[in-house]
């Protein structure tokens, strides 16, 4: 079990139960984990094991039924909606399986959006630099509908790093992409992660991707079945795919 010193993410006794009418379903049955700063962690598990629910709770997108989540020393489980928004803005970056770009904004505007929501200085140079670094310098004025899936996900990567968050949460970032495009996106994600010095928590059921992580957590039926440190492979994801 990794050390808790300098943990940027700490989870204690985390449970989540969903209720639908008179029936209830316990998705997470008591999770304890601690993730130190700058670590690349992969969360794996079968469908319905609770991966996405855990990610949602780490992001403060959902409230736990019991237990606590601490991000960078701040316990977020009982914070108000506005305080959670503040945490998401300052400490977390997201990459989603279905890109989640705003269709009415161009690529550049999508990347700029977090900055426009939270900062007053000019964020354009940073947004342009990030888009260039993911190979979209020529397509920054295109709307999402004018971009391919891989390009949309690259825009989402740039957006996630826009405010230099200490933690990046990624939910199946290559799930909607073909293997070659997925590999390219994953390369970019790891490259940005290394360059920006962030903690990366990646949810996937792709064992190939997991091989590049420093730590692998396996979920089964709402519990951690395995949590192990591993030796990451070379950064060229495409070579393993």
């Amino acid at each position: 079990m990794p050390s808790e010193t300098h943990a940027i993410i700490a989870v204690r006794g985390l449970k989540k139960t969903l209720r639908s009418g008179s029936t209830s379903l316990e998705i997470l049955k008591g999770i304890d984990l601690s993730i130190p700063s700058r670590q690349f962690v992969v969360v794996m598990g079968a469908s319905g094991s609770g991966k996405s629910t855990l990610l949602g709770l780490l992001a403060g997108l959902d409230a736990p039924s019991s237990g606590t989540v601490t991000i960078d020393g701040e316990e977020i489980s009982r914070l108000s909606e506005d305080a959670l928004a503040q945490i998401r803005a300052t400490k977390l970056g997201f990459v989603f399986q279905s890109y989640q770009l705003i269709p009415t904004l161009t690529a550049l505007e999508n990347v700029l959006l977090p900055h426009e929501l939270h900062a007053s200085d000019d964020g354009k140079p940073r947004a342009q630099e990030l888009l260039a670094s993911v190979g979209l310098a020529e397509r920054m004025h295109h709307y999402p509908v004018q971009l391919s899936g891989g390009e949309q996900q690259r825009v989402a990567l740039a957006r996630a790093f826009m405010l230099r968050p200490p933690v990046i949460l990624a939910d199946e970032p290559t799930g909607n992409l073909d293997s070659a495009t997925g590999a390219r996106v994953m390369e970019l994600l790891m490259e940005l992660n290394r360059r920006e010095g962030t903690t990366l928590v990646l949810v996937t059921h792709d064992a190939g991707l997991a091989a590049h992580a420093e730590r692998k957590i396996l979920l089964r039926d709402g519990r951690i079945e395995a949590d192990e440190l591993c030796q990451p492979l070379a950064q060229n994801v495409g070579a393993d795919a």
Binding site: A59, L61, A85, R88, A89, L117, H118, A119
Partner: protein
């Protein structure tokens, strides 16, 4: 660089809002039109009113034909006339204008015509403005003691011509010219029958005006140039005239026809409220569209929240969108208001003969813009506040649904913030209505009443929808697939059927209430005049010396059914009530006209049709000044049995004690009397008699002819003529109301179109699936048509039911019987169904053109 949390700049929020709007402008086109309708209606009504008031003020002297006018129903005393002459010596010239109704005929057509007679001194009248004659000559050159000028309408009705001999009262005149217009027509007392104008100096010879007759006299004054040398201006003149003629109703040019201005104010307030209903519906439309828009933007909002946006920041974006829609709609509304303002002079031309330009005034434009934007913002509060509850988790799990309550809870929210927002809407609406009508009470009643009506309509609509749902639950197998689909579509998620039904229903309700009330009033008058027990012909100004002869003549008429009822009238003034002089009462809430002039009558036993509701009648031989007062008069003057009234009749003054309060059945001539006294108390006073009888409506002409031949000074008023005038006025008022209420109906239709547009994507998908399953185009058309026809039909039903309820309450208060037409009610429901169908198809016809594969491939 990890940025510290800041505020989303308004500029950035606007940029996001604009891009989002740009991507969904079709959806908002209808709501912009709806706002434009509300603002257009309000701006047009208030602009016309303001321009009308300005015209009244600018032409005040011309419309009065004088600087100052004193209206009176009493003959002037010698002292008063001497005092007026002394004023003339100080530069305040005066001239008398007398108006009454009379019978008139010509040699070419001996059947008499009821005319509005006006006697003037052509050497002085009019002081301002011009009497326009067909010949182009001046009035003073044409009108002499042996000539008369008549309106074109008289010549048409009498089949006579200029040069014919005209018989009025006891005199014969030559028709010298045709009267095109007179400047002070708007200030006239009588408007029954065409105008005949004669000289003031010949009037006594006609025998039409005698003590006690109801002729109206206006003394017109003009300040001559030398008035200033005598320190006489309009204020001092007014004070002097008020002293000389204390009972007169005095108006000067600074007031711009107070009676008309007051009527205009009240009409403007009412039409403003109807316009506000349109605006409220439009705002509800914007709120519904914004709600639907936000539902479609759930994911976008979830992304923004996941990126750290606070609810207030997201709300700022959609608030700006709402503001933009409100402003654009309001600006378009100002343009529409120009059209409304231009339409009003045309609609009013038969009611008020005043040339008013149809133009926009600045202040109504500003008021319209502000009201439009403010109302829109108020009503979009609830959907904007919904943003707080949108959960960012949706970004991870698409199937995360927003919390849904029960159907009833969806209609009546229980969230405290939503309840507060509804309270804010009501307070805001009351404040807007209070400001626009300058009455807090009206504002409160408007907001409360509108809320009540909307809740009733919403419940009715929800109830009818529930009935359809229940029917579908038990009987769905009985319907063909397309009919079933049409019925089920009413419950489509996001369809907002109940709200659409409420909006459409409100429009139908207003239109039908106007129709029901208008027709019930006219029908009630017609039924009363047709009843053989109710008089339908009235005799006015029968002299005491003529009474016996008139009675004999009427009794001999075969067209007359029953007997002639007569009532003596003694003209009087009220001096005091319970010892308080009327001068003090006039500044309180007492009917001023009643205090200035009234009519007394006598009866030594309770007259036919009068029922004593309090007190008792006096002894037949009583000489004590006692009085029986009609119930309505007692209420208006705050009198009861035991109160005292001080009267002046001619030179005699006396105080009478109230011994009885009476209620009339309305079928007898005494129903018009307000004060009945013992005959001995009024003995010796100048008296005129009024008469009433029922005659075969088709043979009233015969009676008029016989009476006119024997008693030319007796005026015969046929109820059918009065009814025609009333009908025209009621029709005109109803047309104006219907014109403004039409905007409400239109707003309801627009809301339906907006709702259809909001659910367009669901419809496209449904149609694509049906087509892929082999549904024919005609079947799809039938399915959608059934949905729209049902929506309109249910809205029509709810609207008609509410209109029936509202009309019966209003008509009960007006004491008018109500017999609604069921065929018209059904017709209204069908019209609503057709309107909804046409509107629905206009908003969704493109659905049919889409190929199923195109749609399903995008899934």
């Amino acid at each position: 660089m990890k940025a510290s949390a800041g505020e989303l700049a308004w500029g950035t929020a606007w940029k996001i809002a604009w891009r989002d709007l740009h991507a969904s402008w079709i959806k908002f086109t209808f709501v912009v039109i709806a706002v434009a309708l509300g603002v257009g209606s309000l701006t047009g009504v208030r602009s016309f009113s303001l321009v009308f008031q300005r015209t009244l003020l600018a032409q005040a002297r011309t419309l009065m034909a004088a600087d100052l006018s004193a209206r009176d129903f009493h003959p002037y005393t010698d002292e008063q006339l001497a005092a007026l002459d002394r004023l003339e010596a100080r530069g305040a010239d005066h001239t008398l204008v007398t108006e009454t109704v009379s019978m008139a005929s010509t040699a070419t057509n001996p059947d008499p015509v009821l005319v509005s007679l006006k006697a003037v001194d052509p050497a002085k009248y009019p002081y301002y403005g011009t009497v326009v004659l067909a010949s182009g000559k001046r009035l003073r050159d044409v009108l002499h003691d042996n000539t008369a000028v008549v309106s074109e309408e008289f010549l048409l009705r009498d089949h006579s011509h200029v040069g014919d001999t005209l018989h009025v009262g006891n005199k014969y005149f030559t028709i010298a010219d045709v009267l095109r217009s007179e400047p002070d027509r708007i200030s006239s007392s009588f408007s029954i029958g065409p105008r005949v104008m004669i000289t003031q100096s010949v009037l006594p010879a006609t025998g039409l005006v005698r003590p006690g007759s109801r002729a109206s006299e206006r003394m017109l004054f003009r300040l001559m140039p030398q008035a200033a040398q005598h320190g006489m201006d309009i204020s001092t003149l007014r004070k002097e005239v008020e002293t000389i003629l204390p009972q007169a109703q005095i108006t000067d040019y600074r007031e711009a026809n107070p009676a008309l201005a007051h009527g205009l104010e009240r009409s403007t307030a009412m039409l403003t409220l109807v316009s506000l209903v349109t605006m409220v519906l439009s705002a509800i439309g914007v709120a519904m569209a914004m709600h639907a828009h936000l539902q479609q933007r759930l994911e976008t909002i979830a992304i923004m929240k996941a990126l750290g946006a606070r609810s207030t920041q997201v709300m700022r974006i959609y608030l700006l969108q709402t503001l933009f829609l409100g402003v654009v709609g309001a600006l378009l509304g100002v343009a529409a208001g120009f059209g409304v303002a231009r339409a009003f002079p045309v609609l009013l031309q038969r009611l008020v003969s005043l040339p008013v330009e149809g133009e926009l005034a600045l202040s109504p434009v500003v008021i319209g813009l502000c009201t439009g934007v403010l109302t829109t913002l108020l009503f979009t509060l609830p959907p904007l506040l919904e943003i707080r509850s949108f959960r960012p988790l949706r970004i991870l799990r698409r199937n995360v649904e927003q919390e849904q309550g029960t159907r009833l809870a969806n209609i009546f929210p229980r969230d405290p913030v939503q309840l507060v927002s509804i309270a804010i809407i009501l307070i805001g609406l009351a404040a807007i209505a209070s400001t626009l009508t300058e009455s807090t009470m009206v504002g409160e009643w408007f907001a409360g009443g509108l809320l009540g009506v909307l809740v009733v309509l919403l419940l009715a609509a929800s109830g009818l929808l529930a009935a359809v749902r229940w029917m579908m639950q038990w009987q769905r197998r009985r319907f063909s697939p397309m009919v079933r689909q049409g019925l089920v579509n009413l419950q489509r998620p996001g369809n907002q059927s109940a709200a659409v039904l409420t909006a459409l229903g409100l429009g139908v309700m207003l239109m039908m209430t106007i129709y029901f009330v208008q027709h019930a009033i006219v029908q009630d008058l017609q039924m009363n005049s047709g009843s053989p027990t109710v008089p339908n012909v009235f005799l006015v100004d029968v002299g005491a010396d003529e009474l016996a002869g008139v009675e004999k003549l009427i009794a001999a008429q075969p067209a007359v059914k029953g007997s002639l009822e007569t009532i003596p009238i003694v003209s009087a003034r009220i001096l005091s009530l319970d010892g308080v002089p009327t001068a003090q009462l006039r500044i309180q809430h007492y009917p001023k006209r009643m205090l200035r002039s009234t009519a007394l009558t006598w009866a030594d036993a309770p007259p036919a049709g009068e029922k004593i509701v309090d007190g008792k009648w006096w002894n037949k031989t009583s000489e004590m000044p006692q009085v029986a007062v009609s119930e309505s008069t007692a209420k208006a003057l705050h009198l009861k049995v035991g109160s005292n009234i001080g009267f002046a009749t001619g030179e005699k003054t006396f105080v009478a004690a109230i011994v009885a309060i009476v209620r009339a059945d309305g079928d007898h001539i005494f129903a018009r009397s307000q004060f009945i006294l013992p005959s001995r108390v009024l003995a010796g006073q100048p008296v005129v008699w009024y008469g009433a009888f029922h005659a075969d409506p088709l043979r009233v002409g015969e009676v008029e002819k016989s009476l006119f031949a024997a008693y030319p000074t007796v005026t015969v008023i046929n109820m059918a003529d009065v009814l025609e005038v009333v009908r025209k006025v009621v029709d005109q008022i109803a047309m104006i109301l219907r014109f403004v209420a039409g905007f409400v109906l239109l707003a309801g239709g627009i809301i339906l179109a907006s709702s259809v547009t909001a659910t367009r994507f669901q419809r496209v998908r449904e149609v694509a699936i049906l087509k892929s399953l082999g549904a024919l185009r005609a079947q799809v058309i039938r399915m959608l048509s059934i949905e729209f026809l049902l929506l309109g039909g249910i809205a029509g039903l709810a609207g008609v039911v509410c209109a029936l309820a509202l009309s019966s309450v209003l008509l009960h208060r007006l004491d008018v019987s109500f017999h609604p037409s069921w065929s018209v009610s059904v017709g209204a429901m069908m019209a609503a169904a057709i309107l909804a169908s046409v509107t629905g198809w206009l908003a969704s016809y493109r659905i049919l053109q889409q190929k199923p594969l195109e749609v399903l491939r995008e899934e």
